[in-house]
Subunit: 483 residues, 2 copies
């Protein structure tokens, strides 16, 4: 047993013996270092392990806190059980309905994944954009290079060090949001008719990209705390001619989990054996509540088989439409697809973001938002526990601002949404996140906004209507049985 | 014979009899109306016909002028003779080389199609962008609707009346440049392996979209004054299972022609017989030198089979990355593809362009640029006639800022470019514009910049090197023959 493992065990034992209660602050890293006579870095490693084990969690600018032994305070959804064969993706009509419902500005948008845009720490970005238009209008109006702004790619390469990735700016291509990164990556590594393995539930935007490319999705059972089941994935790889894997391993959308590092390494080893590319969506990775953020899958990739996709749409603002792709060995194919699809990414937002990062604005803003979202998560979970029907299971996000809720099987959340929308409330129904029409009794909710009475009332109303629909459905089923 | 045809004939007879010399101003519409005792609109129709016949040309804010009887002052390229079978598109490496060469800011970019960005009439657009960032930062940071900004789509619908199109804003989807409009349109109406008929030479960006979608291009012979040969197209439609037609019928890139209205109507009738969609690239249409601008193919489309694609990249600025698509009956497919590819178009540039159009800035700027480009065209043609080797043929653009030059068959313009680039001059070699590797002895040049000594020297140098390469090649061929 390594030294840091011994220290972690010692702390865990004290938690088990109730020397530290759930929610209580643990000793600082310095205190642990002194108490156990180990180095600061060993103490840090010990806490890292406790975090991985779900025994402790970090709160930025504060310290480490004891987590409940069940790893999370509420009952988690079960391991998902999607269809065990490749499926064509449908659900486009439902996705379109969600996107259109969200254009109503009165709507309380519990369904969509838009970050908070009103934070004071984001204001300098708008100022920078205004200044650039005055100072260098010619540059802002011209094409950027096909690969993207030099300055921005340099700044992105620097940011990605936090995710454990050591890249050259020329390994990076900027894109029109993460969506372009994902869809061009998919087109770069697959042909129509191919099978792609995906985590399940999975972000509907990636699923629609799978559909548009004429691919079939093989949904792999996924655990709400540790992510895609590697055992199930291995079985699938043996059984089907899978051509690529597409996952969101860090601060997953919609489940919020982060795959443990060991799983990320095992996944990479597996794809090496099967010689497969992996499309990694890391769009929420920088919003992990733990600091430093967990390493990306890409950070363990020595062979260039990970096509890393991300954007500033969740950390800064989606209207900028600036994302990026680090496609490893598939760089040339991605550049070709990027050229064909949009020729280049809008110039001004790229210039502005590069300057915002250089001035330290990105770090400042993201640090603030991580802490805010973590607090909002706890409030949101409290509301759901209070207002939703008995038997509701809730995911426990490690980052970002999205929650997955599983309700009793009698509920159809698409039907629920039809009742909610006229009341100006909108959720994201579970079926959007599956090729095989699973998760009808699930929904994705966001906790973007700082907690407020209006949102609490909306969550209460969702829970109330859900309970009502479940009761009605049960009555109908009983009635049917009697007939 | 209709009245306006009689009037046109009368004016043409006076030109033939040298009452009006080549380059001389013709009587005003009002003068013709009085002289011939016809209505103003009949006089206008007569001039429209003379323009179509290539006897007269309009100069904005000035009037009508006599054209040389050969329709244009210089010898035109021949009707193109591309391969007569569907081909896979190659040339990506050459396109990439061109795109990368153009990122050198010292380079005199005769090859790329970037409009003039320094015009005073464009400055208000930068001011509007700066103001929007200050006044409404929240709106500029958020997602726009999937279909695009409401205000912008309304303004686009208004602009398109000039092209003869009567559309509702909801018939329009904004895109990340024209490239996204074209590539999503292609994906909406074809499957990999399909055959698409294209004009030839054809814009390399569209050709690469054909390649990326796994399609084959069937290049149709194209006339440098009247566009795609309808006879050749009809033969091709009889012979091959063509699934779509992709053309740039107005102010064509690279040839500069505008298809006569009668041809546009015949083309549409033909696609009706074969039940085919047409992808119309109209990106240069608003830069036609004649006023009002020629009607778009879309304007004659009563069945929704034209997927109209355009953008503000040539009329305003490419770095904005704002284009649009009016996909007719294929609207739902295009919206799906647009969502999959980029989710939505950057917000701020859409807001800014809508405001710029609303303030009258678009009309003012485009009017100015049309006149400027027309004057630059004449200067550029003069330079080419002066500096290029004997036997050079030059297209006679009806709009935009691009010229097509055909040199003696001994010249390889890709080789020429290799000599030019170290001297910081870059042209667009002809092979980029063909799937079948034709047009090796051709090049596309732009006349974006107001005429200046530096550009004249560059054109002179291109001509000089071309002549030298032709002489060397002839000597080699003779030498080979002797051996």
């Amino acid at each position: 047993m390594k030294l840091y493992e011994q220290v972690a065990d010692a702390i865990a034992a004290r938690i088990d013996q109730s020397y530290y209660q759930v929610g209580e602050k643990l000793p600082s890293i310095r205190a642990i270092s002194q108490a156990h006579g180990v180095s600061i870095s060993t103490a840090q490693e010990a806490y890292r392990l406790l975090e991985e084990q779900g025994r402790a969690e970090v709160r930025p600018k504060s310290g480490f806190y004891v987590l409940a032994q069940s790893k999370s305070p509420q009952q988690l959804p079960d391991l998902s059980r999607p269809a065990q064969r490749p499926m064509e993706v449908s659900q486009w009509e439902d996705v379109l309905e969600l996107l259109c419902a969200n254009t109503n500005r009165e709507m309380i948008q519990l369904g969509r994944a838009i970050p908070e845009l009103g934070a004071a720490t984001l204001k300098p970005l708008s100022r920078i954009m205004a200044d650039l238009n005055r100072q260098d209008p010619l540059a802002t109006l011209n094409y950027e290079h096909l690969r993207g702004s030099d300055n921005l790619r340099l700044q992105i390469a620097r940011l990605m060090v936090d995710a454990g990735c050591v890249l050259h700016p020329d390994d990076i291509v900027t894109t029109t949001g993460c969506q372009e990164a994902i869809s061009t990556s998919l087109r770069a590594v697959t042909e129509p008719g191919d099978i792609v393995a995906v985590d399940s539930p999975s972000f509907y935007g990636s699923m629609q990209a799978v559909k548009a490319q004429g691919l079939k999705a093989l949904e792999i059972p996924t655990h709400p705390e540790t992510g895609i089941s590697l055992e199930a994935l291995e079985l699938a790889l043996e059984q089907w001619p899978i051509k690529a894997i597409q996952i969101t391993p860090t601060c997953n959308n919609p489940l919020g989990y982060t795959m443990p590092e060991a799983n990320k390494k095992r996944l990479l080893a597996m794809t090496k054996r099967y010689d497969l590319p992996i499309i990694e969506d890391d769009i929420y990775g920088d919003l992990a509540y733990q600091a430093p953020r967990p390493p990306a899958l890409k950070s363990f990739d020595t062979e260039g088989r990970v096509l890393y996709c991300s954007s500033f749409s969740k950390t800064l603002a989606p209207g900028l439409r600036v994302g990026w792709c680090a496609p490893g060995r598939y760089l040339n194919q991605v550049i070709h697809m990027k050229y064909v699809v949009t020729a280049s990414t809008a110039t001004l937002p790229q210039m502005a973001i590069a300057e915002f990062i250089a001035q330290g604005g990105y770090e400042r803003h993201v640090r603030k938002m991580r802490a805010q979202y973590q607090q909002s998560r706890d409030v949101m979970i409290g509301w759901i526990e209070k207002y939703f029907p008995a038997g509701t299971k809730i995911s426990y996000p490690h980052g970002g601002f999205l929650l997955w809720v599983e309700l009793p099987s009698e509920l159809d959340t698409s039907e629920l949404n039809e009742y909610l929308i006229p009341e100006n409330i909108c959720i994201a129904p579970g079926v959007l996140f599956s090729a095989s029409g699973k998760y009808q009794n699930c929904m994705r909710l966001n906790f973007t906004d700082p907690p407020n009475a209006k949102n609490e009332a909306a969550v209460e109303r969702v829970g109330e209507l859900a309970a009502q629909l479940i009761t009605e459905q049960k009555a109908t089923l009983n009635g049917t049985k009697r007939v």
